[in-house]
């Protein structure tokens, strides 16, 4: 490697760097598995944070394009079993998302209807959130609890996602109180608290390896263009989250959210 400076000090620095590296380097450790696991968790966390932090200020369509996963740009079927697994099989052609507003509306409507039909006691209704997969649950005690769906890269079919409470590859843990769950459709996952904010999350892997879930968000933001400031999202208990995601209708709606659905 060359150095950019042509002065004495620059040559000195470059020579120091060169000299300290004049030694046998350690063998390259195997890192890919840990990197992939950590990267998937990071994407999940970012997706949870996106709704309130980004969608509140960025037009929906811009975010839709920004969240596109290259390789998943074919026309998605959002509803029904036929849509499941389609994201992994689409050709790798990096193009903007082809989601139409009708498909986004259908996705949002299905999720909202499922949540509204199975609200835990203490919640009185569901309002749209800052994007098609984020919602504000209206609380009887006033205010909202914001929730967003979780998506992630597929796992090997039949495998359980690693516990978010256990460090993977030496990475920092952002979860506590993890409780394993096996749901009526055979999906397996974890119910847990976030340690980065007062939130609860549910992460599951379907029998065919798709990652889905639901988590609360730090802020409850209204839909873009509706006006109003984001409010603090009140925490949801683990018991409430457990009851909500255990309803088969909610579970099916969550599992039908495609990998590249916008937040």
């Amino acid at each position: 490697m060359t150095h950019g400076g042509d002065d004495l000090d620059g040559r000195m620095a470059a020579e120091v760097f060169r000299a300290v590296l004049q030694q046998p380097e350690p063998e390259q450790p195997p890192v890919l598995a840990a990197v992939r696991a950590g990267g998937r968790r990071l994407r999940t966390r970012r997706r949870l944070a996106l709704g309130a932090a980004v969608l509140a200020v960025v037009p929906l369509l811009a975010v839709t394009a920004a969240l596109v996963v290259p390789g998943s740009s074919g026309a998605p079927t959002l509803l029904g079993p036929a849509g499941r697994g389609a994201a992994e099989e689409r050709p790798s052609t990096a193009q903007p998302s082809s989601y139409g507003m009708n498909q986004l509306d259908a996705l949002q409507s299905r999720l909202r209807g499922a949540l509204a039909a199975h609200l835990p006691p203490g919640y009185t209704g569901v309002l749209n959130g800052s994007g098609p997969t984020t919602f504000r649950l209206v609380r009887a005690d006033g205010g909202y609890t914001a929730v967003a769906t979780i998506m992630g890269n597929p796992l090997t079919p039949g495998s359980r996602p690693p516990s978010p409470c256990e460090p993977q590859g030496g990475q920092k843990v952002y979860a506590s109180d993890c409780a394993a769950r096996t749901l009526p459709d055979g999906a397996t996952g974890w119910l847990y608290r976030s340690t980065s904010y007062p939130g609860t999350e549910f992460l599951l892997a379907t029998p065919d390896g798709r990652i889905a879930g639901l988590g609360t968000q730090p802020n409850a933001a209204p839909p873009q263009g509706e006006g109003g400031e984001p409010q603090e999202s009140k925490p949801m208990t683990l018991e409430e989250m457990d009851a909500l995601v255990s309803a088969p209708e909610v579970l099916a709606a969550l599992e039908a959210v495609p990998l590249d659905a916008p937040g």
């Binding site: 040559r11 030694q23 380097e25 990267g39 920004a66 390789g71």
Partner: protein
Amino acid sequence: MSPERERLFEEFTAARYGALRRTAYLLCGDWHLAEDLVQSTLIKVYARWPRLRDPDTAGGYARTTLVRTFVDGRRRRSAGEVALAEPPETAAVGADPDRRLALLAALARVTPGYRAVLVLRYWEDQSVEECAAILDRSSGAVRSDAHRGLAQLRSILGDSVHEIAGA
């Protein structure tokens, strides 16, 4: 992520791991810490991989992420300096491998923020403007830090400076 993009990420990691680890070693002075830093960097790259279209973009993003992760980590744990042998007031630069250890000790005494600028400028061969973009600082601040970092290193190395620069 599609199998094709997974394969590209594997190729990227195989091709860039060594260079990233060397840069990380210059920043933190310890191979194990360097490997931790590179792993943290690759996790962030992987999370963003679906949106990185070509190796050049990915390489630049990885470099920026590596240096920022180092700098941010330094801010969060200012007491976590790399555990090197106590360096002498003025590093005596003799024969290898003593020379290498003396230079490593000298480098460890440079303020981490200045060290990051020096590594970017004189190892990664980045312009002042590129360094400023990577570190999210002004060009003036980068020039100032480079000047101070070089002054620190020169002072630590003492009379050895001319021998090193002429090597």
